[in-house]
Amino acid sequence: METKTKSKGAGKKETTEKISGAEALLRSLLAEGVDTIFGYIGGAIMPVYDALYNYEDQMKHVMVRHEQGAIHAAQGYARIKRKPGICFTTSGPGATNLVTGLADAMLDSTPLICITGQVGASLLGSDAFQETDVVSVSMPITKWNYQITTAEEIPEVVAKAFFIANSGRPGPVVLDITKNAQIEELEYTYEQTAMVHSYVPKPIPVMSQIEKAAELINESQRPLVLLGQGVTISGAEEEFKTFVEKAGLPIAATLLGLSSFPTNHSLYTGMLGMHGNYAPNINTNKCDLLIGIGMRFDDRVTGNLNTYAKQAKVIHIEIDPSEIDKNVKTDVAINCDAKQALELLIPKIKSNSHEAWLETFSDLHEIEYQKVISKDVHPGSEMMHMGEVVNALSELTNGEAIIVTDVGQHQMASARYYGFMKQNSWITSGGLGTMGFGIPAGMGVALAKPDRPIFVFVGDGGFQMTVQELGTIAQYKLPVKIILLNNNFLGMVRQWQELFFKGRYASTELVNPNFLMIAEGFGVPGKQISDRDDLKTELENLIAFDGPFLLEVKVQQEGNIFPMVPAGGTVSEMRLD
């Protein structure tokens, strides 16, 4: 290792003593402030678990039921805490079961440190029992990965991993530790790292670009700000609010930007993208200036790039230089941390209000309200709609709960109808769209924020992908309140089949088990409702219940999520029905 380190002073440890690699790993984690580990034991990681036996009073190890559960839990934990989530798994299948979570964390910029056991260094490449080339497998889906083959490397590599995972644009790191490196002894000292030679975590903004951006903002008649997760990651919620309020800039959030800005604010115009709100999508193609902040112009946001905001100038504030000009060509690129960019911009922008322009959002919202929202929230005599369930919970919790979701129609209903009032309250699988994410992510969130109410919305499809984690939830008595929106279909795919595949419902109808019996089998109490009259009472009971609970809500089978920009369609041609 040639890592150059800058001492962090306070984090510096001077102790030197001879200990095993496994113990050095645990002490290094403690030095980085780790208090929770999600993992699953197996042959190649046994020395680490043996050492962990002595540290269980200092670090909580959550024994999951499947490694995918461990990594999604670590993701939920990391995103709420804004510090790396930790996973332990064994080699081979233990490590490959992390792949989905790594890919998810890579796309959603989630800091993780995954420690995978590996066969002994002398056996590497020999097709040994439970040997997989984890470094190669995880190469395209990690921010950094490294195979440790000697015990001496452990402290320095762990320090580097923590710095890389949680700085710049965060992401997952895999450390693959051979069994001999866990067993062998080393002279242990630990020093936190704040510098990796080839790595520029915080690009320095170019002042001329800040000036140009301010000029465009001051000249703009019809600006629109796109709020991405980068604002949350950067901890720039307050600066963001000051910025948009000063210049009177209407804002719209990406899926992962939700909850960074109060939904009842006069400048908030809704969510962007495929199933976002009508007004910001339509006005994307009417604005004269788009200001993307900490977001990456994902295809679910932009639809067809050839017809996306062609009339507008584009300012892109983004910490990852490879995102700039990747999908949407910018007029002004500000390559730095969102908080820093906003701090520099605020004094340079003029106070303004764009009342007439804001009114166009209200008019468009009114259309959406009449055609979509009112029918979703007050559907009348039919079966319950997903939207009304989410809306009811939103009202009963004053928009102050943490909402975790799985992927599909219920996810879009949650995004659309939960009226977030508190920051850091929304955990969902965005870029990868991982079914099975919700329940384990909810576990991680419950451990990260035991003082806040946590609700997991999940569909009947995704619920069955990681249902085994109900066992973990029950064992650790995690207060995860699961709301299963059961429509007996893989609803989002069924919706596409209805709209784009002539209603041919290939493999989307589900033959479901008795969910309450399953939950009960794991030791999680539950209740099923199908009558609208029971909704409010049962949600109130759910909110008041102490501990994990499954509330299964039977919803209309063939409900659709509207409005919608069909894949590859033009944002301004969003369908209302």
Binding site: E2, K4, K6, K8, G9, K83, V135, S136, M139, P140, K143, W144, N145, Q147, F163, I164, N166, S167, A194, M195, V196, H197, S198, Y199, V200, P201, K202, I204, D320, P321, S322, I324, D325, K326
Partner: protein, 186 residues
């Protein structure tokens, strides 16, 4: 419009970096025309030279995605006119080919090639040049029988005035400038 671009990538000497670079081409479904790596003028810093045929928008994105990988110091892309570059080719031909008068010998003279070794059964000829030149010699030697042929990846130096050492100094300066900031990160 697709064109030939040469990427020059400066890296630390770390296991797995080649893989990190190539997966970025793989996921974009880009075929690498040639690849060469060697230590650069700075000790411990390696230079990758990769030739690829694609659009400028694509090569620009790919270059940025490569540069952000941990262990990569700097990545550039260039068109032919911004480079001085060379490839080397080796041709193994039967010795008897030289028995038919001066034909082969004059070919070697004409192409400014040279003979590396002469054995009773075969002769190895070396030619450095651009691909079209080494390919042309291949075509002209073909009638005499080519037993083996190998061509190296492109190696290239850039005409740009700013050298990697300057970028490395900038990187050092960045680490000094941001020390306080980075230190407040957690």
């Amino acid at each position: 419009m697709k064109k030939e671009y040469t990427l020059t990538i400066f890296t630390e000497n770390k296991i797995g970096l080649l893989h990190r670079i190539t997966v970025i081409f793989t996921r974009r479904h880009l075929s690498i025309d040639s690849l060469n790596t060697s230590e650069s003028e700075v000790r411990g810093i390696y230079r990758f030279t990769i030739v690829v045929t694609t659009t400028e928008a694509m090569v620009q994105t790919v270059t940025k995605q490569i540069e952000k990988q941990i262990g990569i110091l700097k990545a550039f892309y260039h068109t032919e006119d911004e480079l001085v570059y060379q490839e080397i080719a080796l041709y193994k031909v039967p010795t008897k080919a030289f028995a038919h008068g001066d034909d082969v010998e004059s070919l070697i003279r004409k192409f400014n090639a040279r003979i590396l070794t002469i054995e009773p059964e075969y002769i190895v000829v070396e030619k450095t040049g651009h691909k079209q030149e080494t390919q042309q010699l291949f075509r002209e030697l073909e009638p005499y029988g080519i037993l083996q042929f190998a061509r190296s990846g492109r190696i290239a130096l850039t005409k740009q005035i700013k050298e990697i050492t300057t970028y490395l100094k900038e990187l050092e300066q960045y680490h000094l400038d941001t020390e306080e900031e980075v230190l407040t990160y957690n």
